[in-house]
């Protein structure tokens, strides 16, 4: 039986339409192909059409989850073009918001991943606790998800009065909860059974495939843009880069759990050492950037984010290039799904590999089957293929 199994692009709750096309021979995946076109909106071109200040808000909406990282990266980029640098207080405030949104993103991922494993209750608990973080983001920036906090030359508002105490209380709460969840996850056999020794990505392969972020660190490679290429005063703030060397899905869970605690510490440090002074430079809304090119990198929750821009001296970018972490990590999925030589991938491994790397992909779960023999096309969900595949294995035994 040789048929094509596209996975995607619709899923009930959390969806980023993405389609994986898997060519399978019986159980074995012979070829994999990724189609991310469903979300392609043409942002890079659209950025060339609008003044820098408008681009800022478009960039935030490349992806809502990492919007703080996206806008930070954009601002750093334009500041570099202008040859300016945000004042120290702005840098610290940026870190606070960036790390807060990292906490929110990691909690989201963790809850989500557990939901992928069918653990509804922990999913609910994670998301319940995440609401506290969202409240803090809303308090500081004025909106829950899309923060619109960073602006060219600093941040748009100062910490509101009383926010610091509330923030600290939330941090204490989150820290305690994360510790508790780590204990639960470490001792729950059903979770361990589903994550350990599943979806292994060896360090060498991870580098070859350009994997970034927690996914890379879960393969035991100590790379973090905040450490290697500090961009917003990260050289002044002590923090640990979390790595884990079992290289499997369990490692990815562990790394994100530990990183969440690390973020808590970073925010505390930033609050303790918050410089006084201005929080933004006076930059007029419309300006022309001098010709040149600039490149900025930011450690977004899901990995390294790269913005590369070229200016021809106009009031809008000549070319703006965005490389998002998910795209970088996607490749490793495609590569890991392709059988070559003695490396064999079965349909049964698909959910493990996908889910471990990014739950959203796993969850954009609609499967379109093209059965060559019957010339029939059908749509079902990823769960069916999971079941289908697991079952196959059992039957073979």
């Amino acid at each position: 039986m040789n048929f094509e199994v596209p996975i995607g692009p619709q899923h009930p709750i959390h969806v980023e339409p993405l389609m994986l096309r898997l060519k399978v021979e019986g159980e074995l995946i012979v070829d994999a192909d990724v189609d991310v076109s469903y979300i392609h909106r043409g942002i890079e071109k659209a950025l060339e059409l609008r003044p820098y200040i408008q681009g800022l808000y478009l960039v935030e909406r490349i992806c809502g989850i990492c919007n703080a990282a996206q806008s930070l990266c954009y601002c750093l980029n334009v500041e570099q073009l202008l040859g300016k640098e945000a004042p120290p207080r702005a840098r610290y405030l940026r870190i606070v918001v960036e790390e807060l949104s990292r906490i929110h993103s990691h909690l989201l991922w963790l809850g989500h991943y557990l939901h992928t494993l069918g653990f509804e209750t922990l999913f609910m608990y994670f998301w319940r606790d995440r609401e506290r973080v969202m409240d803090m983001l809303e308090l500081i920036t004025g909106n829950r998800v899309t923060t619109a906090y960073n602006t060219i030359g600093g941040v748009r508002r100062d910490l509101p009065p009383g926010a610091e105490q509330k923030l600290r209380r939330t941090l204490d709460y989150i820290e305690e909860r994360v510790r508790y969840y780590e204990k639960v996850i470490d001792s729950e056999p059903t979770i361990l059974a589903r994550t350990q020794r599943v979806g292994i990505l060896k360090p060498g392969d991870a580098v070859r495939m350009g994997v970034t972020g927690p996914h890379l660190r879960a393969s035991g490679i100590k790379h973090d843009v905040r450490l290697d290429d500090p961009y917003s005063g990260h050289d002044e703030i002590p923090f640990n880069v979390i790595t884990w060397d079992t290289c499997d899905c369990y490692a990815r869970v562990k790394v994100r759990l530990r990183e969440t605690s690390e973020c808590v510490n970073m925010i505390r440090y930033a609050l303790d050492h918050m410089p006084s002074g201005d929080y933004r430079l006076k930059i007029p809304p419309f300006f022309k950037a001098p010709p040149g090119e600039s490149l900025s990198r930011v450690e977004a929750p899901r990995g390294e984010l790269v913005h590369y821009s070229i200016s021809d001296g106009g009031d809008r970018p000549y070319r703006y290039r965005v490389r998002t972490p998910t795209l970088a990590n996607l490749l490793s999925v495609v590569e890991m799904l392709r059988s070559r030589g003695d490396y064999e991938v079965y349909i049964a491994d698909v959910p493990a590999i996908l889910g471990g790397i990014d739950p959203c992909i796993c969850c954009s779960a609609r499967i379109l089957i093209t059965d060559e023999a019957k010339k029939r096309r059908m749509i079902t969900t990823l769960d069916d293929i999971i079941r289908f595949s697991r079952g196959r294995r059992v039957e073979r035994r």
Binding site: H11, P12, I13, L114, H115, L117, G118, F119, E120, T121, M124, Y125, R128, E188, T190, I191, A193, R194, A365, I367, I369, D371, R376, M378, T380, T381, D383, D384, I385, I386, R387, F388, R390, G391, R393, V394, E395
Partner: protein, 321 residues
């Protein structure tokens, strides 16, 4: 005769059972939500009590779609067959008195058999929708059956052995005679096995493998909509009632309890409902505590951890008797 028919149709027969099982779905959803620190349904009727009914009526009122590729015969038959089977099995439960509406020596076996036939109906439902993955999802249900059926049967049989009777009535009366429920004693192991195996029978976490999570009602159900889906949901609720009732009858003494003379029939029902809600709460708790296993893990789990204790249990019961 008339009385018998009335009993079958109304109390404690079909209508009553349907109502109670819808109520059980509400209890299940509400408790599950509470375990997760949520509220759960609360707008439909007082405390959301009518939520399952609202779901049901809504589904019944929806457009009826029969996709082209399906096998019309199976697509029509299975949604009717599935609730009918379980409803029939529910007739054996001692809801209003120590014996069910139908009762004979060996009816425990009949219930177990009906459950297996139900799984086969599910299998046919998947096949009938003629959707590759629906049908394979159905195959998963059948594979899972191999995992849990024997432990489930063994756990029930060991109770039957202890009671010296293969009828539910006999088991209930044996408990009444001793004044001790079977859960007190070595049959507690049997109860644990029963809980886990029923969880698999009902396709709930951690064994909801053939059934998707509650949000993605997929698998064998994926092509069914409207009325047909309503009937399948109904059979799920009935199954919930059947298994928690069975657990209550066999392990918790069924409808027997302290009696106020003259009020027996009512008290019987109340005791039965209360006890089965306890079993239901345990089902719900289990659902809240675990991640889903994969089917290979599920099968090896039940052969490794369910089968041996069940075997030992039945030998022990034999020895003690």
């Amino acid at each position: 005769m008339i009385e018998k028919i009335l009993a079958t149709v109304f109390f404690p027969g079909a209508i009553f059972i349907l109502a109670v099982s819808l109520f059980y779905e509400w209890v299940d959803r509400k408790l599950y939500a509470r375990f997760q620190n949520r509220v759960g349904p609360h707008l439909a009727g007082p405390f959301g009590l009518f939520q399952p009914i609202a779901d049901l009526i809504k589904l019944l009122s929806k457009e009826d779609i029969v996709p082209m590729a399906t096998d019309r015969f199976l697509f029509t038959l299975t949604p009717i067959l599935a609730p009918a089977l379980i409803l029939f099995a529910c007739m054996f439960l001692p809801v209003a008195g120590p014996s069910g509406i139908i009762s004979f020596e060996g009816d425990l076996i009949a219930v177990i058999a009906l459950l297996s036939i139900y799984t086969i109906t599910v299998y046919l439902a998947g096949e009938g929708s003629n959707n590759r993955f629906a049908s394979v999802g159905a195959v998963r249900a059948a594979v899972q059956l191999l995992g849990y059926e024997i432990p489930l049967t063994l756990s029930l049989l060991s109770v039957a052995l202890a009671a010296g009777s293969l009828s539910i009535r006999g088991i209930v009366e044996a408990q009444a005679e001793r004044g001790l429920w079977f859960i007190a004693g070595i049959q507690a192991i049997g109860f644990a096995i029963f809980i886990i195996a029923s969880q698999a029978e009902m396709e709930r976490i951690p064994f909801d493998i053939p059934e998707a999570e509650q949000e993605i009602v997929a698998g064998w159900e994926v092509e069914y909509s409207g009325k047909r889906l309503a009937l399948f949901r109904l059979s799920k609720d009935l199954e919930l009632f059947l298994l928690s009732g069975l657990g209550a009858a066999v392990f918790l003494g069924g409808p027997i309890g302290p009696v106020i003379p003259g009020l027996e029939p009512m008290l019987y029902t109340i005791y039965f409902i209360l006890k089965s809600i306890i079993v239901l709460a345990i089902f719900t708790l289990v659902r809240a505590l675990f991640a889903r296993l994969r089917i290979d893990q599920m099968v090896s789990f039940s052969w490794r951890y369910l089968m041996p204790p069940a075997m030992i249990l039945i030998i022990l019961t034999e020895v003690i008797m």
